[in-house]
Subunit: 204 residues, 3 copies
């Protein structure tokens, strides 16, 4: 089941990445590259930082093809995508919580400290989007407007907590993902935002 | 022979990186850093992603000195460089195909799947330029205008294909590089471009 | 003693990172993330490039908490920070020389060539700030205005040189850090700058 969710998640990330690339007038190969970086970049950053080799896409190169194909189809069908706005946001939120839980599991499997497990989930869930924004020359959205990181922390925290208290693996996975998904959708619906820290000076 | 081509390639990349740094008013140390990142960054990203340690410049620190020296000489001789425009484009294209073939060979030596071999060639050929553009705060050229990535795919594909069908190593290397080089120069001459994907919306 | 200096250094980097994040209107989680990346990013880049696993913050996750706490306190106390301008510059310079010496020591412990030891010090000292500027969508300061990289080279060179000639470890550490610190403060006081390389053309 996690594999099915993972495949949905990388497809969803590839589709949102393709639309971001289209906003920057990238060519078709650029669209594929941005999609692969966004969908597989979070897991790659995590694996490189934790020294967890080989990387997912090195073992399963078919994920690269899935991602590139999803991105190209999205680019072809872009005029239709406008009407699927809500579906996109749902898939995107699903990707975030699935990636977070997978990232936590990888770190748990390496028996790392709990803080690192939580950070591993956050990196897996969020780093792909940060790389996309850096390559598109934006200030990462993660750091400014969205509750991505908070959703990732809540999802990861619930998953780690329930595992810690001996809950069934599947139950705690599904539970954490459901809570994270609902949190994300409520945040979008009611436009929740973290308080911002605004600071101005000239001495740098 | 590959070593000689490699040295020419890192020198060429260092020179183009120095000119890019000059466009952003960087100081002399900045010029050297940008040059090292551009010339050696593609191989470093590949080695880190594939877990192929130690990195090239850790084993051969002299490459760092060569790169930095080439960048400083370029900065000193910048007024002359204006007239060597065509030579630069040729060296740059040579660097791209040489890096691509080297990247493919590293992945072949690790017996990775064919898709990963192709991606390894692309990363080696292109990631240095992407890092340069990110550090100079540009949208990576790779993703927008140039046929870099396509040239890299063609070169790598030819090299892998001919190896697969048992061709002589040197012959398939030279053949793939020649075709890639001609493709790149034709693309520059006739201003070939990939079709672009342009998308505008406001819902993000 | 090095541990105490290290803790001061990551706290100082976290504080300057928090102020940079505030200039970009980031939210509270964004501030923490930028702070962790700035304070621990230089060492992480070094460890990933040298294949020196596990990373510092994976072994000592408490550093993540220290960094995040320092960043949040800085954000809360931002109005006061305006008056501590000089203290900040001092702490920042201290962080630079401490990180540089630690980076050199890690590479010396792996018995790498001297050039790589010097580069390892530079990466540890400077890469965190570069990552901060890339995430905030600035051209890295390192590459344009400041003498950061030069200070790092001088500090690292002195440390390596004195170790090479058999000086006492603590003496050479303290000596190199003091010289680097004085150099940095003089550079700030008298506004020393490296010559810039300015280049304009239109042929790219």
């Amino acid at each position: 089941m996690l594999l099915a969710l993972y495949l949905i998640a990388i497809t969803a990330e590839a589709m949102t990445a393709a639309l971001a690339a289209g906003r920057r007038d990238m060519d078709w190969i650029g669209v594929c590259i941005i999609a692969c970086v966004t969908a597989l970049g979070g897991g790659s950053v995590r694996d490189v930082l934790l020294g967890h080799y080989p990387l997912t896409w090195v073992m399963h190169p078919e994920y690269l093809w899935i991602t590139a194909a999803a991105a190209l189809l999205t680019a072809l069908a872009a005029p239709v995508m406008r009407h699927l706005h809500r579906l996109f946001l749902l898939l995107d939120a699903l990707g975030l919580v699935v990636f977070t839980v997978i990232g936590c599991q990888v770190a748990l499997g390496m028996q790392l400290p709990i803080t690192v497990v939580l950070v591993s989930g956050m990196i897996t869930g969020c780093a792909g989007g940060v790389l996309r924004d850096v390559l598109c020359n934006d200030i990462p959205l993660l750091l400014r407007k969205e509750l991505y990181a908070s959703v990732s922390v809540v999802t990861g925290g619930l998953f780690i907590g329930s595992q810690h208290f001996g809950a069934n693996l599947n139950a705690s996975m599904v539970g954490a993902m459901l809570v994270g998904l609902v949190f994300r959708l409520l945040a979008l619906r009611f436009n929740w935002q973290m308080p911002k820290f605004v600071y101005r000076d000239e001495w740098r």
